[in-house]
């Protein structure tokens, strides 16, 4: 900004915002209509109070007259609220008029009627009144002091419209003291509040003051922008006084920009408007500005007239700043004419007017400088120096880097804040989109998580199920191995059981050969004795015959010993649990032995049992490769079953001609050896024929059979020897089991 540190020509006119309502002439008309039909005093007074407020924005004198008249009426009927409002209005309007004693009187009366109410908000109103009273007198320290008090109360109660006004007005004090940061701080607060409330007339007031602050700081661009905006809003809301102040101050701005004509035109416009409104202060100040512009344009005479007029009007307004400004404009004219001596009294008057004021603006500094120039040129150097020093102090202070920087920062901050706000709005929009996306994302995520959790659960369940299955499988395997163990134990017990059943038979079968062994050895002993006798007698032939018998007997002993041995061997083999190996075996001998074992076993167990048995063994089959104990078991099992079947039939038949018979035969058939066990029992009923090879299937009473005999036999023949176990049966005729073993 090229003009940043340039000293402004002339005072910036400040405007204190006092309106409760905003001037709208159309509104006054409607108020008048309402007044005609108003029935009660209070209603009428209320309407008049409203009218006073409106009139105050464009004609102070009329407003004061109407207010004073109405105040008397309000007092008469004891209308407290109206009295307070009217007195406040009078304080403002008298202050604007420069009638400070009248204003002070109203203030004192106000305090008297408010104290008993103890209403803090009404106190705040009085404080604001004192603020304006002192502010217009340029006693800004006091003004700030009272405004701070009112702001404190309004902030506590959150009274937004009053706060907007108080912020704006306290800022004037700071601005006039060139404390730009504080001024801008409050003005920005005010503007923000009023923008939020969409209070355009309020914004117009604040903007004109902001423009003033920028102007004071030398920030021309921002200042002009704020003025123009303020004027626009003031016109829109029919706010004449604001429009006026904006014009007069814009004039200063154009002056500062060395746009003299522009500055003059607008200053004159302001003066005229001021006159219309009865605001002499502003009229005088505007004229003073117009004069300065004329000086710059070289129209000295015209300037002189205008300055004279300005001084006259200013004096009657009683406002120090305006008086000072009017006098200074004349001083400036004389100064430009190098009429130093004549200029000095005007300048002195200018200083005199503001000596009690708390003004510390660049304008004052400028006046020091101008007066200093005058003294310098008239030879009063000491005075000149003193004044220059004051100018320098003022300048240094006002234009101190910190002050301006701080204020600029604040201004920048404010703009940044605004930009930030719109950025925030944009951001909020973006955030909204982002949030929507985020929500979608979160929903997606949540769904994903649900799906994952579901999958995990399913996986877990599956794992659980798998574990369960594995456990069940293990359990089944355990059970199976237990069953297998049990089965092998059962098979073993089946073996032992079949053997046990035959114990008596076995004993008999062993006993017989043993008897022969004993008997033959015994008789041989006797024969030896006889042989000796015969030899002593000399009968050698007889001795030889006896010797022959003895030899025969020894052979018999050997034979029967072998018989017993074979039975024991078979018995041991039969009870052996381990899988045997195939060896060449005499099937016929095996069949014969087991047939006898079975017969004698059953006989020994059951005395009533008897059955004939026959063998028809084919000697040509020779030795066959089998596991002897296993095939022995099968044969024994089939024979035992056959004996059981014939015995059952024998016991249950009335046929005396029935002869139980079991026939065991062997025969060779090509590459097969057949072992056939045939009985003439009852036969197997058709319905159980296909079940007989199943494990645990038995027709015997409980405890008589394990039901494993045939299934075991089936396994031995088919799996153990690759053969077949066939059954043929006819009920009432008998059953034939055929073992086929490949050679």
């Amino acid at each position: 900004m090229k003009n940043k540190f340039k000293i402004l020509a002339g005072f910036i006119l400040i405007i204190f915002h006092s309106q409760l309502m905003y001037a709208q002439n159309t509104k006054i008309d409607s108020l008048d209509n309402l007044l005609i039909s108003a029935t009660s005093d209070t209603a009428r007074i209320n309407l008049i109070v409203e009218k006073v407020e409106l009139i105050s924005s464009f004609n102070l004198d009329s407003a004061i007259n109407l207010a004073t008249k109405t105040l008397a009426e309000a007092q008469r009927i004891g209308f407290h609220k109206a009295e307070v409002t009217l007195r406040k209005r009078l304080v403002y309007n008298y202050s604007y008029k420069g009638n400070f004693s009248a204003a002070l009187e109203q203030l004192n009366d106000l305090e008297q009627i408010i104290i008993p109410t103890n209403d803090s908000l009404e106190y705040a109103g009085v404080y604001a009144g004192w603020g304006i009273y002192y502010g217009i007198q340029s006693k800004y320290d006091s003004s700030i002091y009272f405004y701070e008090k009112s702001i404190f109360i309004y902030e506590r109660n959150d009274i937004k419209d009053q706060l907007g006004r108080s912020y704006s007005n306290i800022a004037i004090g700071y601005q006039q003291k060139s404390n730009f940061p504080m001024a801008l701080y409050y003005q920005q607060k005010s503007l923000k509040l009023r923008e939020e409330n969409e209070n355009e007339s309020g914004q117009a007031y604040t903007l004109v003051n902001i423009a003033n602050t920028y102007l004071s700081m030398g920030d021309i661009e921002r200042s002009e922008e704020a003025f123009l905006k303020s004027i626009e809003l003031a016109k829109k809301t029919e706010l004449k006084n604001v429009e006026l102040y904006a014009y007069t101050n814009l004039s200063s701005l154009y002056f500062d920009e060395e746009e003299w004509q522009k500055s003059f035109d607008i200053a004159m416009k302001a003066a005229e408007l001021g006159k219309k409104m009865g605001d002499q202060g502003i009229q005088a100040a505007s004229l003073a500005k117009a004069s300065r512009a004329l000086v710059k344009m070289g129209q000295a005479e015209k300037a002189r007239k205008i300055s004279e007029k300005a001084i006259a009007i200013a004096d009657s307004s009683g406002q120090p700043v305006n008086i000072s400004q009017a006098n200074a404009s004349m001083g400036y004219l004389l100064l430009s004419e190098k009429n130093w001596g004549k200029a000095i009294p005007f300048y002195e008057s200018a200083f005199e007017a503001v000596k009690d004021a708390d003004i510390f603006t660049p304008n004052i500094g400028m006046l020091y400088k101008e007066l200093s120039t005058c003294y310098e040129n008239t030879g009063s150097y000491s005075k000149a120096l003193k004044l220059y020093k004051q100018y320098a102090t003022n300048s240094d202070s006002v234009w101190s880097k910190e002050n301006v920087q701080k204020a600029t920062e604040l201004a920048m901050n404010f703009e940044f804040e605004k930009k930030e706000q719109s950025a925030k709005a944009r951001q909020a929009q973006k955030d909204e989109i982002a949030r929507t996306r985020q929500i979608a994302l979160i929903i997606g995520l949540v769904l994903s998580i649900i799906i994952i959790l579901g999958s995990l659960r399913a996986y877990y369940n599956k794992q659980k199920a798998n574990t369960l299955l594995r456990e069940q499988k293990k359990e089944i395997e355990r059970t199976l191995s237990k069953l297998k163990k049990t089965q092998s134990q059962l098979i073993q017990s089946e073996k032992m059981a079949s053997l046990g059943e035959l114990t008596a038979g076995i004993a008999h079968e062993i006993q017989n050969p043993l008897n022969f062994v004993n008997n033959f050895s015994e008789v041989s002993n006797e024969l030896i004795d006889e042989m000796n006798e015969e030899m002593e007698k000399g009968d050698l032939d007889e001795a030889k015959a006896i010797a022959k018998d003895v030899k025969q007997n020894l052979e018999k002993i050997n034979h029967h010993g072998g018989r017993a041995e074979a039975i024991v061997k078979n018995m041991l083999q039969h009870s052996r649990s381990d899988g045997g190996v195939k060896v060449p075996a005499n099937i016929n001998k095996l069949a014969d032995e087991y047939l006898r074992l079975a017969y004698h076993g059953l006989r020994a167990k059951d005395k009533s049992f008897n059955s004939d048995f026959k063998t028809d063994l084919d000697a040509s089959i020779g030795e066959v490769n089998v596991i002897p104990q296993d095939i022995g078991r099968v044969i024994l099992n089939l024979i035992t079953n056959a004996f059981y079947a014939v015995d059952e039939r024998n016991k249950n038949t009335n046929d005396s001609n029935y002869k139980p018979l079991v026939l065991v035969s062997t025969q060779k058939k090509g590459k097969l050896v057949e072992i056939i066990v045939k009985d003439n029992g009852n036969g197997i009923p058709d319905e159980i024929k296909d079940k007989i090879f199943q494990p645990f299937f038995t027709t015997k009473p409980t405890g008589k059979g394990t039901g494993l005999g045939l299934s075991m036999s089936y396994d031995i023949v088919t799996k153990g020897h690759g053969g077949k176990l066939k059954v043929e049966s006819k009920e009432g005729e008998g059953t034939t089991f055929t073992i086929e073993i490949p050679v």
């Binding site: 008999h508 006993q511 017989n512 043993l514 008897n515 022969f516 004993n518 008997n519 033959f520 015994e522 008789v523 006797e526 024969l527 006889e530 018998d549 025969q552 007997n553 018999k556 034979h559 029967h560 017969y599 004698h600 006989r603 020994a604 005395k607 008897n610 059955s611 004939d612 048995f613």
Partner: protein, 134 residues
């Protein structure tokens, strides 16, 4: 069918499914058989014994020793049939099972004696000698 040379001698029938019984008996009664006072005949099943007895009318067998445990017709069945058909022929049982069931049944059926296996040939000889003295 095996018969002794001397037809005048007393004839005893031994019934047993064990064929070696014949050889044993012949050796045990060697002296008696030599003096020709005794004749031994053998049958290896109940039916064979009955067939032998049916050959002569009346049969010349004076005494029968029979095993009980035999396939087909048992000694006890034979006893009943002999007692029914040939009441004059004395018959004694020889059994491996010396239980009271077999004994009682045999005695009720008219058996003269009940011998248990292994055969005590001394008591058997005493029985035979007593028979011969009659």
């Amino acid at each position: 069918m095996i018969t002794t040379k001397n037809q005048k001698a007393m004839k005893i029938l031994v019934v047993d499914d064990e064929r070696d019984v014949e050889m044993l008996f012949r050796q045990k009664f060697r002296k008696e058989l030599k003096t020709k006072n005794l004749e031994l005949v053998f049958a290896f099943s109940g039916s064979e014994a009955l067939n032998l007895l049916e050959e002569k009318h009346p049969p010349d067998v004076a005494y029968i020793f029979s095993d009980i445990n035999m396939p087909g017709m048992t000694g006890l069945e034979l006893l009943e049939k002999v007692k029914l058909r040939f009441p004059k022929i004395k018959i004694s049982m020889i059994s491996a099972y010396g239980d009271s069931d077999n004994y009682n049944k045999a005695m009720q059926s008219g058996a003269k004696e009940f011998f248990t296996k292994p055969i005590d040939f001394d008591s058997l000889k005493t029985e035979v000698k007593a028979l011969m003295n009659i």
